[in-house]
C-alpha cells in the first residue's frame, strides 16, 4: 500500500461553479505534454499579466492578494471549495495543473462530472461532502491556516484535533490512487471479453462497421 494518507495545508476558494477555464485557461492547452502546468494553475486570478506557455511563475507579475501567492498556501495540498467545482470544459489539463502545483485532494459539495473522473486518473482525490459539512470546514479554515488529514483506506477526513467527517467514493476509483494503477492495463486484462462483444456487434449492427466517407 502506498499513497493512503494525505495531509497538508488547506487553501479555500469561497465561490461556486469554478470552471476548468479558471483552473487553467485555454492558452496553456496548446502544450502537447502531460506535465508542467503547475505555474499556470488559476492563471487569471494568480497573476496580473498575461502569460504564455514558455513562461514560469518567476517571470510573472503576481497578484499578492490571491491565496496561492500567500504563505503558507504556496505549499497547499488540499483545496476546499463550494458547489460544482471543475464544471465546464473536459480538459484534463485542469487536474494536471492542480497535481503539478502540489494539490493531492479537493473538497467540495459537488463536482463537474468529467472533472471528477479525470481526477482519479492523476492521483488527485475529489471528496464530496454535504453543504453543511463544507460550511463547517470553511468556518474552521477562516480564522487561521489549518491542515487536514485524509485517510483513503478509512475514507475519513480529520480536522481540528479529534473531529472527522467520513466520505463516500467508489472503491475501484480509490484503488487507482492508492495503488497508482493504470486504466488501460486493467481493461486489457479483459481483452477477450471486448473481442467477443465486438464480434457479436459486428454481426448484429453491421452498419457500424461498414462505413467510410
Amino acid at each position: 500500500m502506498i499513497n493512503s494518507i494525505i495531509t497538508g495545508i488547506v487553501a479555500t476558494f469561497n465561490r461556486d461553479n469554478i470552471d476548468t477555464d479558471q483552473i487553467i485557461p485555454t492558452e496553456y492547452l496548446k502544450s502537447i505534454k502531460k506535465f508542467g502546468f503547475g505555474d499556470f494553475l488559476f492563471d487569471g486570478w494568480r497573476y496580473l499579466d498575461e502569460g504564455r506557455l514558455d513562461m514560469t511563475a518567476d517571470d510573472r507579475s503576481k497578484n499578492h492578494d490571491f491565496i496561492l501567492n500567500k504563505e503558507p498556501f504556496t505549499n497547499a495540498k488540499i483545496l476546499l471549495t463550494r458547489d460544482n467545482f471543475g464544471c465546464g470544459s473536459s480538459r484534463e489539463h485542469a487536474v494536471w495543473a492542480l497535481r503539478d502545483f502540489g494539490f493531492k485532494a479537493v473538497i467540495a459539495s459537488s463536482f463537474g462530472d468529467i472533472f471528477y473522473n479525470n481526477c482519479f486518473k492523476n492521483s488527485v482525490l475529489p471528496i464530496k461532502l454535504t453543504k453543511e459539512e463544507v460550511n463547517h470546514l470553511f468556518e474552521i479554515s477562516s480564522l487561521s491556516p489549518v491542515s487536514f488529514e485524509i485517510d483513503l483506506l478509512k475514507k475519513d477526513l480529520k480536522f481540528d484535533g479529534n473531529y472527522s467527517y467520513s466520505f463516500d467514493v467508489k472503491d475501484s476509483l480509490l484503488d487507482r490512487i492508492i495503488n497508482n494503477l493504470d486504466d488501460v492495463d486493467i481493461t486489457l486484462e479483459h481483452k477477450n471479453h471486448i473481442e467477443a462483444f465486438e464480434q457479436k456487434r459486428r454481426h448484429q449492427r453491421p452498419w457500424l462497421f461498414d462505413y467510410s466517407n
Binding site: Q22, G44, R52, S90, R91, E92, H190, R205, D210, N213
Partner: protein, 466 residues
C-alpha cells in the same frame, strides 16, 4: 419493465458490468481533435500499443486553427508557433497510426461536432466520445454521447471501451410553441437558468415533448450541445422521422444497409411510462429571448429584465454575484439594454449550422452593422456549412452588412486561436460559455441566440427581436 433511452443504449453497449463500481462500455465512434489528443497518442506509443479499431476514429483540427485562411493555407502557415505544433502533431499522429483525418487543408474540415453529423459519422444508437465536453451534441441522434478527458481518449484508442459508472435519468419536457424571436438557444439557456449549471450533474438528460418533436435536427443539436452547461455530460433525444430523414440525407449507407439499421433505429426512444429519477416540464410558449449577464451560463435573464442585484440571496451566492458583476463591468442600475457592445461572434459548435446562419442573415439582410461595433465575425461550423451558405448567398448578406466571413473552426468560442477579445471588450456571442477569460483575457461575454447576436450587431445594443 419500461426502459429509458439512456438505459437502452447503456445495456446495448455493456461489455462487462460491475454494479458497485465501474462498467466497461463499448465505444462505436471516437472523434479526435488537436488539443486533447497528443498526450493520449504519446501514451499509446509509451505502452507500445496500436488503436484497437481504426475505423471507429475520425479526426479534425478545430480548436486552435486560424479562421482567416483562404485557399493556400496549410498547417505550416499557422503563425502561432505553439498552436502550429499541435496541428502538425495531429497530422503526424493520424498518419503514423492510420487514423482518418479531415486536415486543415480539407474542404470538409470543421468543428468536430458540426462536421461529424454532416458527414454521416454520427449514426443513431451509437456510443460517441471525444475529448471535448460538447460531445453531448451527438445525443440529438439518439446516441449516448459524452465528453471525456485525455486519459480516457488514450483508453478508448487502446481498448475501444470506456470504464464508467451509470448515470441517473432526467427528463426535460419542452411543450408548446416558441414565440417569435425565440429559438432553441433561448430555450436551453432558460433551462440552465432554471436548474443551474449543476442541475443535471450525475444525470443523462433526455429532451422530449412536443417542441422537441417539431424541432429540426439542428435545433436539437443546439439543445443537447448545452446539456453540459446544465451540468449533464449526456444530453439526448429519441429517434423519430426527423432524425431518420437527416441520417438518410447525410450518411452514405447503401439502401439495404439503411433499411436494416432503420428497424433497430425506430426502437431508440424511451418506452412510454419509463421511470426517470427527475422530470421537469417547461412550457416553451412562455419563454422570452434569453441573454446571459454574468460569468456562468446560469446567470441568464430575459433580454429586457433587470440584472440581478443583492437582495434575498445567501452569502455564497452574494459573493458569486459581486464577483461576476465586477468582472462584467456592471453597476447596480444597469439593464442589458443599456450596454454598448464592441464585438459580435456568430459561430461555435452550439450555433454555426445552416439554420443559425439563415436566422442571423434574415436580421442582417439589407442593413449595416452599428458604427459602435469594432468587429463582427461569422464563422461557419464546417466546410460543408460554408459552401452551402455561399451557395445561398448568405456570405454576401453578411459581408455587405460589414461582417467578416471566415473559415471553419472553434474561433472565438475559446481564446485559443487568433480570434480573441481584448481586455474589457464586450461581445454578443452565440457560443456556450461566458466564463471569465473564455473569449480572451478579461473579455466580457454575453451568450445569446444567432438572431439576437445579429440584431445586436445592427443596433450596437440588445433590442427586442420580436
Amino acid at each position: 419493465m419500461p426502459v429509458t433511452l439512456y438505459d437502452k443504449l447503456w445495456d446495448e453497449h455493456l461489455v462487462q458490468t460491475d454494479d458497485t463500481n465501474e462498467s466497461l462500455i463499448y465505444i462505436d465512434r471516437h472523434y479526435l481533435h488537436e488539443v486533447t489528443s497528443p498526450q493520449a497518442f504519446e501514451g499509446l506509443r509509451h505502452k507500445q500499443l496500436k488503436p484497437w479499431r481504426l475505423d471507429a476514429n475520425v479526426a479534425t483540427p478545430d480548436h486552435n486553427v486560424p479562421t482567416d485562411r483562404g485557399n493556400t493555407f496549410d498547417a505550416a502557415s499557422i503563425k502561432d508557433e505553439v498552436a502550429k505544433i499541435q496541428v502538425v502533431e495531429l497530422d503526424k499522429n493520424c498518419n503514423n497510426f492510420g487514423i482518418h483525418q479531415f486536415d486543415i487543408t480539407s474542404n470538409k474540415q470543421g468543428i468536430v461536432h458540426v462536421m461529424g453529423p454532416e458527414l454521416g459519422y454520427t449514426l443513431p444508437g451509437m456510443t460517441i466520445v471525444c475529448g471535448d465536453s460538447h460531445t453531448s451534441t451527438h445525443g440529438a441522434f439518439g446516441c449516448l454521447a459524452m465528453g471525456i478527458g485525455t486519459s480516457e481518449v488514450e483508453h478508448v484508442l487502446a481498448t475501444q471501451c470506456l470504464k464508467i459508472t451509470k448515470l441517473k435519468n432526467m427528463q426535460v419536457n419542452f411543450n408548446g410553441h416558441p414565440q417569435r424571436g425565440v429559438t432553441s438557444k433561448d430555450i436551453v439557456l432558460h433551462l440552465i437558468k432554471l436548474i443551474g449549471t449543476a442541475g443535471g450533474a450525475g444525470h443523462a438528460i433526455e429532451f422530449s415533448g412536443s417542441y422537441i418533436s417539431s424541432a429540426s435536427m439542428e435545433s436539437r443539436m443546439t439543445i443537447c450541445n448545452m446539456a453540459i452547461e446544465a451540468g449533464a455530460k449526456v444530453g439526448l433525444a429519441g429517434v423519430d422521422a426527423t432524425t431518420l430523414d437527416y441520417v438518410k440525407k447525410h450518411s452514405n449507407l447503401s439502401d439495404s444497409m439503411f433499411s436494416k439499421a432503420n428497424e433497430y433505429w425506430q426502437t431508440l426512444k424511451s418506452d412510454p411510462d419509463a421511470n426517470f429519477d427527475q422530470t421537469i416540464d417547461i412550457n416553451v410558449s412562455n419563454i422570452r429571448p434569453q441573454v446571459t449577464w454574468g460569468t456562468s451560463p446560469e446567470m441568464t435573464i430575459d433580454f429586457d429584465a433587470d440584472i440581478p442585484s443583492q437582495g434575498d440571496i445567501d452569502e455564497v451566492n452574494h459573493e458569486n454575484l459581486l464577483l461576476a458583476k465586477a468582472y462584467m463591468g456592471l453597476d447596480e442600475s444597469k439593464t442589458l439594454q443599456d450596454l454598448s457592445f464592441d464585438r459580435i461572434f456568430i459561430g461555435s459548435c452550439t450555433n454555426s449550422r445552416m439554420e443559425d446562419l439563415r436566422d442571423a442573415a434574415s436580421v442582417v439582410k439589407g442593413k449595416k452593422i452599428s458604427k459602435d461595433i469594432t468587429e463582427a465575425i461569422v464563422v461557419p461550423g464546417s466546410g460543408m456549412v460554408k459552401a452551402q451558405a455561399e451557395e445561398e448567398g448568405l456570405d454576401k448578406i453578411f459581408v455587405d452588412a460589414g461582417f467578416l466571413w471566415r473559415d471553419p473552426g472553434c474561433s472565438m468560442c475559446l481564446g485559443m486561436n487568433p480570434d480573441q477579445l481584448k481586455p474589457y471588450e464586450r461581445c454578443a456571442s452565440t457560443s456556450n460559455r461566458n466564463f471569465e477569460g473564455r473569449q480572451g483575457n478579461l473579455g466580457r461575454t454575453h451568450l445569446m441566440s444567432p438572431l439576437m447576436a445579429a440584431l445586436t450587431a445592427v443596433n450596437g445594443k440588445i433590442t427586442d427581436p420580436s
